[in-house]
């Protein structure tokens, strides 16, 4: 694990020494700043429309805006992991050192998770803004962040897998975008499409929109934990396998 720790630290240097990280962070904050302003003014202007929901609950809840945030920004946290090493050929020096594929994948994954968490960290200030005008449900807020980290964990793991497959950062981004958009979102929509109870329940179990709604009101469902945990682990296992296969061809 010492090796994974070394790779994790290098990953952070690689990420935060690149201007791209700051471009992504600024874009993320601008986008979410607008989203949050929108929810704030909506609750202020039309209390009837938003019902009992606070702006923070809407921020973490299942709106198209929060879904867009995840879809657009999480692939950016992982696209460079392996694609960049392959482009600069440091892939070769990395894997001729006595490291295992698992250690490398673990280091890269936690590095990307740290970047993902760093994207969200400044949004904590939003809670302080809300607190000036009314009460904040801290429990629901904590669960909202836990949910974002949990969903993010699955998306980041998928992104690490796609970066291991792709030859360039751009391709890695596109593949991750398609994997998240095409599979994770579309799958959940099944729960609105199918009428039969068992099928509907299955799709509801993997429905991202429903999960986000639960997290935003302070409900952490163990089924969601298992689902996102499994997606993360499977993706990382596949990434490990991809690395050894890619070297054989």
């Amino acid at each position: 694990m010492r090796t994974a720790w070394a790779i994790y630290k290098r990953e952070l240097i690689g990420t935060f020494c690149s201007p791209l990280a700051y471009v992504v962070m600024v874009a993320f904050l601008v986008f979410n700043g607008v989203v949050f302003w929108f929810f704030m003014s909506m609750t202020a202007d039309n209390p009837a429309l938003t019902g009992s929901r606070s702006p923070l609950q809407m921020f973490f809840g299942s709106t198209i805006l929060s879904v867009l945030t995840l879809l657009v920004f999480s692939p950016a946290t992982t696209m460079r992991t392996f694609a960049e090493e392959r482009r600069s050929r440091t892939f070769e020096t990395l894997f001729t050192a006595p490291v295992t594929d698992v250690e490398v994948v673990a280091g890269k994954y936690f590095g990307s998770m740290t970047f993902y968490a760093a994207l969200w960290a400044p949004t904590l200030l939003y809670a302080l803004v809300v607190k000036r005008y009314g009460p904040v449900d801290w429990g629901a807020l904590a669960s909202g962040y836990a949910g974002m980290l949990l969903i993010g964990s699955a998306f980041v793991a998928l992104g690490v897998l796609m970066s291991a497959i792709a030859r360039s950062q751009v391709v890695a981004y596109m593949l991750t975008f398609m994997a998240i958009g095409g599979v994770m979102f579309a799958l959940g929509l099944g729960s609105y499409v199918f009428q039969e109870e068992s099928t509907r329940q299955f799709f509801s179990y993997v429905n991202l929109w429903e999960h986000m709604e639960h997290f935003s009101v302070g409900l952490i469902d163990s089924r969601a934990l298992v689902y996102y945990g499994s997606v993360s682990l499977c993706s990382l296992a596949l990434a490990t396998r991809t690395l050894s296969v890619r070297r054989e061809s």
Partner: protein
């Protein structure tokens, strides 16, 4: 230190190297010579544990590079072609990272300092890798290969792209390192092998063309003969030598056993003879004694340069120029 048996690597239908069998003893500097595209880098990548072979085996320090990959990789300091590095890191920071992933847990700073010193990059330790010149980057790559004190160094075209001064400096460094490490270095430059290596493995179109101690390979390919250049000063016999150097030289060399005259050319005051002698024996000494006896001055006796180059050309044909 290295043993390969029928080592083969294919990429799809293309065979990069086929049935390579060679061995490299511990404690030697070995040149891996071949024209571009002969399969040198592919072979080195397999030895370094990066590419798995399609068939055959390779052992490093008695460990199989596929089944015992992790342990084998611990014995190797590998420097890939064109030395990929992380430009956003500082030299010391990079070497600390490399030392850490190579499992150096204690006295890491001392190991990094030693590698910096051996590779002669201490003066750029606090600088960003991306800002360094090519020569420095090459040496940072060498420092990385050295940092865990591996018994075997595998260097892929280590002097490629350096200027002549840097090349000489790099070769001196390799000779010093040869005292402590077994070094296997690839190159397509013959002089490099002649300058630093004791042994040579020559590869052509994915096959071994020759391997063994440098002298042996050279002797084998030239039929146990070598060419020697003798520079003479004719002194009082000046007129005779100037008029017909070939005849004068023939008269001189003819009586010496084991020696044949290849050419004789006058250049200014001196005359250069190229004679072919058997590898062993003292025919050349006899010739020198004869010259001195005949009142001729002997200014220089030297092996003809590039004799390995001729071996290389003989083995790899005209494509060796590519």
């Amino acid at each position: 230190m290295i043993e390969t048996h029928l080592l083969t690597r294919r990429f799809g239908s293309r065979t990069a190297v086929e049935a390579l069998t060679f061995s490299i003893p511990k404690g030697s500097i070995v040149g891996f010579l071949g024209p571009n595209g002969a399969g040198k880098s592919t072979t080195l990548k397999m030895l370094a544990g990066f590419l798995p072979p399609t068939s055959g085996t390779a052992h490093v320090g008695g460990l199989d590079v596929v089944t015992d990959s992790l342990a084998a990789r611990r014995l190797i300091g590998y420097m890939p072609e064109s030395v990929p590095l992380h430009p956003e890191m500082r030299v010391r920071e990079y070497l600390r990272f490399r030392a850490e992933i190579k499992g150096i847990t204690r006295k890491r700073d001392a190991a990094v300092d030693r590698a910096l010193e051996l590779a002669d990059v201490t003066d750029v330790a606090p600088r960003l890798i991306g800002e360094l010149s090519k020569g420095y980057k090459q040496r940072v790559g060498l420092a990385d290969a050295l940092v865990a004190r591996p018994p075997l160094l595998i260097l892929d075209e280590p002097t490629e792209g350096l200027d002549p001064n840097q090349i000489l400096r790099f070769r001196d460094m390799l000779k010093r390192l040869g005292a402590e490490h077994t070094i296997f270095l690839s190159t397509h430059i013959m002089q490099e092998v002649e300058a630093v290596c004791e042994r040579v493995v020559i590869i052509h179109k994915g096959h071994i063309a020759a391997s063994g101690p440098l002298e042996e390979v050279r002797a084998k390919m030239t039929g146990g003969e070598r060419d020697v250049v003798v520079r003479l000063h004719p002194r009082e016999h000046h007129a005779a030598w100037k008029e017909d150097p070939a005849a004068a030289a023939k008269a001189l060399v003819d009586g010496v056993e084991g020696l044949t005259l290849r050419s004789a050319t006058a250049d200014g005051e001196l005359v250069s003879l190229v004679v072919r002698s058997v590898e062993k024996g003292d025919a050349v000494e006899d010739l020198v004694a004869r010259c001195v006896g005949a009142g001729l001055g002997v200014r220089a006796v030297s092996p003809q340069a590039g004799s390995l180059e001729r071996v290389f050309h003989a083995l790899t044909g005209a494509e060796g120029d590519a």
